[in-house]
């Protein structure tokens, strides 16, 4: 062959190979969840369905790895240069999807945006006093008090492009005073592995792979091969399962529990714990309960009554019958993935109807009493069924329990107005550190921001408060962990809650889908490999 012809053939062969390779690599991924994200603004709504989509598009300074450990994200390293000053070195060469560079100005802007009054992400930046640009790729975060878990919190704060936000009038997250839709509700500009191509709320959201994302270079970690993803919300449980069985979707994040065993037979189901614990709690501050027939005193103030109710619960029955094996019964109020977990304190008080009755008699309630149990019916997995089972168990030992189940929209306002005597709650830990649970649920409500904001039973114990304050300020990890463990011991003895179980979340998918299960119930599509 002549040179020209050989050359031409080579080019043709090369082009063909490239075309075939490109065609072979197109990997579309369709996944279904029961609810849709209601906004694309990264600082507006702190809810699982929203962050599920946003985390494919936007990135925080610090990522969570496959075991939820902290790994460098948009920041390559971070240190506490002073007790109240954290220094972050930013990754170089990162670009937003619209081509502009990522630098310190964007970090300053984003953190301040998360601090805005209309932001739902303020909890992750609650100790931040100021953010200072040191140079183009270094940022200092100044805190009000020494905050040992600032890096943990920063894994949930997404970075936005300052110039893009200013240009599109989105300096602050959703302002409800405006009668118009904000640009960031349906538009995005992030640094992440995927970018938004189509957004039809409640119908579909489509994302396309960004080949120039900095993380693809780390082939060991980011080994996914999805080139295009379509996210479909399907509210009806049966329809969602049907869509998976018929092959119309590849992945379902939240299959209903009763179908899991059936799905295991023909498809793949990844099971794992969720960082969410279900427990019962009560009004511990009133002198007379609002919804009980006991006059003149409050039975829940007596630890013997609380222990009796604890021991009346047959947690194995709940695990096998109500949850069909899909739960992790527990004696503590956060799972092992959370920093501070102590296995020796994760032991339930034994189930014993006789012991329960004996304790009630000792406390002076041998004849039993009546009480109303408030319960959500559309929030946690099988929440109403758990309440029904437990109400029957308590009635069995003499505490005649009336169940009042209601949707979340009416349940939350009720307990937040302190209008309940006894209720079920579920609690997640977005910072993966015990302080979040202790501070919000068990610290005395003294008006300081964050203290006991979900402590509606008004549990108040001085030693517990002292230990929680150590958790807040102590930078020495040994001392801090010791405080957490001591607090867990008090938790088990004093029973401010009756824990039930950690939720388990099964992920169902076609057999051709491979991924790693995450306890925060957030799928990272950059780790999804399609056969």
């Amino acid at each position: 062959m002549s040179m020209k012809r050989a050359f031409g053939t080579a080019i043709l062969a090369g082009a063909l190979a490239a075309a075939l390779a490109a065609a072979a690599e197109a990997k579309p991924f369709r996944f279904a969840v029961s609810g849709d994200a209601n906004t694309m603004d990264p600082h507006s709504q702190n809810a699982g369905q929203v962050t599920l989509i946003l985390r494919q598009i936007y990135e925080p300074l610090i990522h969570r790895g496959k075991k939820l450990e902290k790994i460098p994200g948009l920041a390559t390293s971070w240190q506490a240069v002073e007790p109240t000053r954290w220094r972050f070195q930013l990754r170089r060469g990162v670009k937003f999807h619209d081509g502009s560079d990522f630098n310190a100005d964007d970090v300053v802007f984003s953190i301040k945006r998360a601090l805005a009054p209309t932001s739902n992400y303020a909890i992750y930046v609650d100790t931040v006093a100021d953010v200072v640009r040191v140079d183009d790729h270094t940022v200092d975060v100044v805190t009000k008090i020494p905050d040992p878990i600032l890096p943990d919190k920063f894994t949930s704060v997404f970075m936005m492009d300052k110039e893009w936000s200013e240009k599109n009038n989105s300096i602050r997250p959703q302002n409800t005073r405006e009668r118009e839709e904000m640009f960031t509700v349906r538009n995005t500009n992030g640094t992440g592995p995927y970018r938004l191509t189509t957004r039809e709320p409640d119908v579909r959201t489509e994302l396309a792979r960004v080949d120039s994302w900095w993380g693809w270079q780390d082939k060991g970690l980011n080994d996914g091969n999805v080139t295009q993803m379509t996210f479909r919300p399907i509210g009806s449980d049966a329809t969602r399962v049907a869509a998976l069985l018929s092959g119309e979707v590849d992945f379902v994040l939240d299959p209903p529990l009763q179908d899991v065993n059936r799905l295991k037979q023909s498809l793949r189901v990844l099971e794992g714990p969720e960082v969410r614990t279900i427990f019962f709690t009560y009004d511990m501050h009133r002198d007379e309960l609002l919804y009980s027939n006991v006059k003149g005193k409050n039975p829940f103030k007596d630890v013997r009554v609380r222990k009796a109710m604890y021991q009346a619960i047959d947690s194995n029955a709940i695990h096998t019958r109500v949850m069909r094996g899909q739960s992790i019964p527990t004696g503590t109020f956060f799972p092992p993935q959370v920093n501070g977990y102590l296995k020796s304190e994760d032991v339930r008080h034994p189930f014993s109807v006789d012991a329960a009755k004996k304790l009630l008699a000792e406390a002076g309630y041998g004849g039993g009493f009546e009480v109303t149990l408030d319960c959500p019916n559309n929030r946690y997995i099988n929440d109403e069924q758990i309440c029904q089972a437990v109400a029957a168990m308590w009635t069995r030992v003499g505490i005649s329990t009336k169940l009042n189940a209601m949707p979340l929209a009416t349940f939350f306002p009720k307990i937040q107005k302190d209008d309940s005597s006894l209720y079920l709650m579920g609690w997640g830990v977005p910072t993966y550190d015990a302080l979040y649970s202790f501070q919000s649920l068990l610290q005395s409500r003294d008006g300081q921001p964050g203290n006991g904001i979900w402590n509606y039973g008004r549990y108040s114990y001085a030693e517990m408060d002292r230990l929680i304050n150590i958790m807040k300020n102590e930078l020495d990890t040994t001392k801090r962990t010791a405080a957490i463990h001591a607090a867990l011991r008090i938790y088990r003895e004093d029973i401010p809650h009756i824990p039930v179980h950690h939720q388990m979340i099964p992920w169902a998918m076609q057999k051709s889908v491979n991924t790693v299960h995450m306890a925060n119930n957030q799928l990272e599509v950059k780790w999804v490999k399609l056969d």
Binding site: T176, R177, E181, R240, A243, E248
Partner: protein
């Protein structure tokens, strides 16, 4: 005639105001939208600021008056859940619901009326009895069960039709239609069938009983005595006279189909107004619910008006009466 229409329009305004008032009063009991919007972590200040921004701290009659005034101007506020103008949301979802409802109504009519006529004419044939028995299924099985059964058979086991969604749609101006694409048409089949079954049964049985009734009347006997062909008698005279109650019922039912296709839309994840409404209820999204209920009230009012006007067209007796009254 004109007086009649004007009178009805004025009544309609009263009806809409009553609907708005009652729904507004009910919204106080569906939950706190601000708490839903704020999620798990928020401060007292954030809560109070949002309450003020949304105008929820004002007394009931002030909020109601504001709502009515803006509604009249076509301004329905902004959705708490989706942070978008409500009017835009409803305009986006309306085509989906209307296409589905119209298809279901069409199916119910085109299958129900002939079936009703047949079972009326041939009362004792085995086919009639078969239709009647099968029709019991349409009435007694709940909509969501029928929907799920159809999904199981046609989507999961046979794999010929999609189990959810609307397929690909084509936008013609502001109307998005599923009629122009194969996936759109395929997606329409199962939901339309699910939705039409109840109406179909109703219409069939109604036409049947009316036919049986009418076939016994004198004018039918005289028509037969005169020697008119069966076809002329059955369809020209009998069927026409059965249509008045059928139109009334169908009219009311269409209003019901449009307004309450909620269950079907939920089962099939059909992105229409019914699904929007259910999601709004779950999230205490008051602006969307208020707008939706007003719209539904409006639909019923208009449909009732059209039904009443159709009486004149169909039933000559009404025309004659009115004519005599005004003729002196």
């Amino acid at each position: 005639m004109i007086a009649f229409v004007v009178q009805r329009l004025l009544q309609s305004v009263l009806v809409m105001l009553a609907v708005a008032f009652i729904s507004f009063a009910l919204f106080r009991y569906i939950g706190d939208p601000v708490l839903i919007m704020l999620g798990q972590d928020f401060t007292r200040e954030q809560y109070e600021m949002l309450v003020r921004d949304l105008g929820l701290d004002q007394p009931f009659y002030v909020q109601f008056a504001k709502f009515v005034v803006s509604a009249v101007q076509g301004e329905f506020g902004i959705s708490y859940r989706l942070a978008r103008p409500v009017a835009q949301l409803i305009a986006e979802r309306l085509p989906a619901t209307l296409e589905l409802s119209m298809m279901a109504a069409l199916l119910a009519l085109t299958i129900g009326v002939p079936m009703g006529v047949y079972t009326g004419l041939r009362r004792d044939s085995w086919l009639s009895r078969f239709f009647l028995t099968i029709s019991l299924v349409g009435v007694s099985l709940p909509t969501f069960l029928i929907g799920i059964l159809l999904i199981l058979v046609f989507a999961v086991q046979l794999g010929v039709l999609p189990s959810f969604g609307r397929g690909d749609v084509v936008k013609l101006g502001s109307w998005s239609t599923g009629f122009l694409t194969t996936s759109g048409l395929k997606a329409l089949v199962l939901p339309a069938v699910t939705l039409c079954l109840f109406q179909l049964t109703l219409i069939m049985r109604l036409v049947r009983s009316e036919m049986l009734e009418v076939l016994r009347t004198d004018y039918i006997k005289f028509a037969r005595a005169r020697g008119l062909q069966n076809r002329a008698v059955n369809f020209g005279h009998a069927l026409k006279n059965t249509l008045v109650p059928v139109i009334t019922i169908t009219g009311l039912q269409i209003g019901g189909i449009i307004a309450f296709a909620i269950v079907t839309e939920t089962v099939f994840q059909w992105p229409g107004m019914g699904l929007l409404f259910i999601q709004s209820v779950n999230n205490a999204d008051v602006p969307v619910m208020a707008a939706y209920l007003l719209l539904v009230g409006f639909f019923f009012v208009v449909i009732n008006l059209v039904v009443d006007l159709l009486y004149y067209v169909v039933d000559p007796r009404l025309r004659i009466d009115r004519g005599a009254a005004s003729g002196h």
